[in-house]
């Protein structure tokens, strides 16, 4: 079965520092990868997906099939980036059931 691993439960950085939230997956096929974010007292929302190859709020993520990773990066963290981040995987070929990682809490200190 597919699995998503977010090795860090908590990541703490200072404002302006680069940030990388790690996500590794186990699946031999071609998955669809997503990052979701949950700000304090707000609902879970989609941040970005690998298929769009987009940058949202300065965040980017590249799918590395060789390393089976989809790390989320931002060159200069802002305090408003503090949130819970979840990596999620869907099997390709029209599968609709996502598998989520356990999440990483990002805290950006002033």
């Amino acid at each position: 079965a597919q699995r998503v691993t977010q090795p860090e439960k908590l990541l703490s950085v200072f404002k302006g520092a680069p940030v990388e939230l790690k996500c590794n997956y186990s699946y031999s096929g071609s998955p669809e990868l997503f990052w979701y974010v949950q700000y304090s007292r707000q609902r879970l929302q989609l941040l970005l997906r690998h298929i769009s190859r987009e940058s949202i709020k300065g965040f980017t993520a590249d799918l590395n099939k060789g390393e089976t990773s989809f790390h989320l990066k931002k060159p200069f963290a802002q305090e408003e980036d503090s949130a819970m981040y979840y990596c999620a995987l869907r099997l390709g070929g029209g599968s609709y059931i996502p598998t989520f990682g356990r999440g990483t809490s990002l805290i950006v200190h002033p």
Partner: protein, 114 residues
């Protein structure tokens, strides 16, 4: 417009009681998902509807869990004879597409079984 809403937001149930959790999706959204999120974990898939049809219920943990969406809009997740291990946040998400590619989440219902 209004997003996905869920009620109640908080529910405390005594072990053995039945509970019903409601989800109002965004109007016109075809797909509806239910997830269970235990403390410190990510959401785990429970079941999926496309309109009124329940296409997948493979994530329901036991036959005490039952979900319905009779008119293809509002959905109810029912848990019978609640157990302590059912304590979690139950999330509902809806999507405008049949494959649920872009999901919009509700605020969740926090269920505590005592």
């Amino acid at each position: 417009g209004a997003g996905v809403s869920q009620s109640p937001r908080y529910k405390v149930a005594k072990r053995g009681q039945d509970v019903a959790l409601r989800c109002d999706p965004i109007s016109g959204h075809v797909s509806l998902f239910w997830y269970q999120q235990a403390l410190g974990q990510g959401p785990e898939f429970l079941t999926y509807f496309q309109n009124e049809a329940q296409l997948d219920k493979s994530g329901l943990p036991s036959d005490r869990f039952f979900a319905e969406r009779p008119e293809g809009s509002v959905s109810t997740l029912k848990i019978q004879r609640t157990q302590q291990e059912d304590s979690a946040v139950y999330l509902c998400a809806s999507s405008p597409t049949g494959n649920g590619y872009e999901q919009y989440f509700g605020p969740g219902t926090r269920l505590t079984v005592t």
